[in-house]
Symmetry: C2
Subunit: 195 residues, 2 copies
DNA sequence: CCATATATGTACTTATCGGTTCATAATGAA
DNA sequence: TTCATTATGAACCGATAAGTACATATATGG
């Protein structure tokens, strides 16, 4: 047995960054080799194919880059309002400053219904996003920030859809002020007495 | 002078359909030739390059396939509520039944800030969409359906972003009921006394 | 320290990419 | 009817796509 010379996780991470910014078909294996810093031999030995690596990259994105992971009410749950504001703020920053949109959303659009493996990864990721938001909603309904008569699942899905809407709109128009306005409108729906 | 054997507009239309469903990099010139029913010679003579044809297709989409064109309050302005419901209904139908999402939105995500010609077409298209929705909002504020104290531009952008959010969410989760719920939530923001 | 199993890079393969060349066909103007 | 002009499709082009073959390097278990 000879041990691998490169760090597999680091390689997947680098591949993910490339796929994230240039989608699947926009990236060649040569691009991947350059980004990962390895040769063709071990690329195919380690990952099998471009497509398999893409699926690994998508999963890696899901567990490491979903915004909800970072803004998940740390250091502790202060308020639903703060959690959601932070989430929308980070999203707008990523959209405008880093020129990045959710990799799962891009994958969902790029592969329509044509790839069931991708569909499954995306489905799970969006579900996780919704679930985390649901927890924030329920917390907010506990503190009274969010009206108790609203269906928390409906609100969670509404917010999730809005997160994606902001990204597409932002990519089309590139205007931070308008994005903040849109986000504020969304939040005013959820927390009518705070806005 | 010899006249062209094929219908240029029809060819652009067919190319648009292919680009729409499989994006830019997902389509080869061979695919385009098949869809358009012409040979390579006249393809390059008539359109110059794949990219130029894509720009033509994007513009063709903008003037012929934007949902707002079809649901633009025909046969006459009855109510903002009906106009918006129809718009969201058609969008959900297109997303779920036809498995299609706005070509401009896809283009915005596919080409980040990398292609200024695409960016310009997308920008104009989204602006047109917003402007049409703005008219509906203003009409609704006239009839009293929509509160007059809301900024109509803000509402218009909010709705536009929601239209895109619904499409991405729909592509990820493929659930009509949830989409209708999200749309209803959006409309309840705009017309609080109607929902 | 040796043998074997795996890692790696180079060279190669087959197919397709977007695009060009060019001979030929068809047209309208003279 | 001729002639210049343009449309057309088949053959062709270099570049690149994803993936494979294989010789060589290297580490670890015995």
């Amino acid at each position: 047995m000879r041990q691998r010379e490169f760090d597999t996780q680091k390689a997947i991470h680098n591949a993910m960054e490339v796929f994230w910014s240039r989608s699947y078909k926009g990236v060649s294996t040569k691009d991947l080799l350059t980004a990962m810093g390895i040769g063709k031999g071990c690329f195919y030995a380690a990952f099998g194919s471009k497509r398999e690596l893409y699926l690994l990259a998508l999963r890696h994105y899901r567990v490491s880059k979903m915004l909800i992971k970072q803004s998940n009410r740390t250091p502790g749950p202060t308020s639903a309002d703060e959690s959601l504001r932070k989430l929308f703020g980070q999203l707008i920053d990523r959209t405008i400053n880093q020129h990045k949109t959710c990799m799962l959303g891009k994958a969902a659009l790029e592969f329509r219904g044509s790839d069931s493996a991708v569909a499954e990864i995306v489905d799970v990721g969006v579900s996780q996003l919704e679930e985390t938001i649901l927890k924030i909603i329920l917390y907010g309904q506990g503190t009274g920030e969010i009206p108790k008569d609203r269906n928390p699942h409906t609100l969670s899905r509404f917010i999730t859809a809005n997160l994606y809407g902001i990204q597409v709109w932002g990519r089309a128009k590139l205007c931070r002020e308008n994005l903040e306005e849109i986000a504020a409108t969304t939040l005013s729906v959820v927390m009518p007495n705070k806005h």
